[in-house]
Amino acid sequence: MAEKILTCIGCPMGCELTVNYTEGDADSVVVTGNTCEKGRIYGTNEVISPKRTVTGTVNVVNREGTVVSVKTVPEIPKDMVIPVSEELNNLYVEAPTHIGDVVVRDILGTGSDLLITKNII
């Protein structure tokens, strides 16, 4: 059994979680110190398969000196955060942009889509 002390990032409460688990076995996970269900889910995911939302920008080709903000939906595995961020440098869109527009589907095989998060007229 392994033990990890984590700070829950499910909300700004920042509960301190103690997670007991066997490597790779989701059923073995016991989370204590959480004050809600989010904490249990976060604690479990964090030791079995941690995930993050990547936010960043991509170039807008027809607006000089402008980038538009994007995010991955749903969250991607934590070890893909850096590769996906680097991939954003290779992407571009054209204005106008709308919140929710898809820039890339299944970015780098993560199963997540890259969506626009800003309206640029």
Binding site: L6, T7, C8, I9, C11, P12, G14, R52, T53, V54, T55, G56, T57, N59, G65, T66, V67, S69, K71, K78, V81, I82, S85, E86, I99, T117, K118, N119
Partner: protein, 423 residues
Amino acid sequence: MTKDIVIIGGGPAGLAAAVAARDAGAKEILVIERDEILGGILNQCIHNGFGLHTFKEELTGPEYASRFIKQVEERRDGIDTLLKTIVIDVRAEGDTKTVTCMSKEQGIFTVDCKSVILAMGCRERPRGALNIPGLRPAGVYSAGTAQRIVNIEGRLPGKNVVILGSGDIGLIMARRMTLEGAKVHAVLELMPYSGGLKRNIVQCLNDFDIPLRLSTTVIDIGGRERLEYVVTAEVDKNLKPIPGTEEKIECDTLLLSCGLLPENELTEAMGVKINPKTGGAEVDESFETSISGVFSCGNVLHVHDLVDFVSEEAKEAGKRAAAYVLNTVPARSTNEIRLVPGAGVRYTIPVSIRKERLEDLLTIRFRVTDVYKDPEICVYFDDKCIRRQKKKIVAPGEMEQVILRRQDICAEENIKEIKIQLE
């Protein structure tokens, strides 16, 4: 031009106030914004984590702003907006307030109104206010300036970065610069605790193995044209550098995230009473300042950690301003109850209440003076303790609140003061 309510600032506070004022029946509302677009600072806060309270989902800054912009668009029958327009003066004479504005198109012009909502937000503490010795090379930015350069203009201010101050913007920028390919050597914090939210320390620093050095500051800045290095030192209990702990870090960029200051020049100039603890106006239960009909909300009132609470507060202020112009609220009587910060509490919002103007629930927001483990948050009506609430931990970086019921306050005959303190 004549309006019922003029709202200064089209950021999260101004937008939420406008929507709430319209929904409460005010008809002639004008929002004045100096930028080209509405949304304020949210437009450059492209990270997620906004809206968990307000919309029960996790949004990025621009998405959060767009929800409120849409609400304003849906209420164009009562809300006007002026962009690229800056307010240079507000004057209150009797019931009329005169707002002097300036824009490229219209030059200088005035708007008369019955009520003003101050929603100008805050700005960052600049290098000049920090007294860091050293040279004046390029490469020293406030964290928010760097955020704008990266997230709006798409350029990277530098590649080897040190961040002074562990406020939320500094933490967010540590991650942002890292994801854009820069090396962030360390985040330094003068105090023995971080000023940022815990979740940001986890997601922005721990995830990328960026060290957070507490009780550490910058004591020298080197480089002629461009920043070449900073010298750090640990500080003692009195925040004085400890000789022998100096360390030189080579870097081309220093970001400053050393606190936010409410932007209250207009407020002070019109004679509104300022609370020295917050740098914002003193307000009552209605978010009304010392001048009747002038309201304040959001970061210009006191600096918030979460935009959700800004929206909530601004909504209340908007509603109260509407009640003021519609004459549906009792005028302020002289029997006010003062709110007093007791031991361990730095300030409270509001600072005074009047029973006859209370709604069913009164939210009192406050910040603590230090990190306390296992404190009890106690509420006193004069000398009588009416509530004790256990908390695991409180910290200056995270705003706290207590909610009181009107019936409990009104049940007491002659309360003079309500005190919030830690025990």
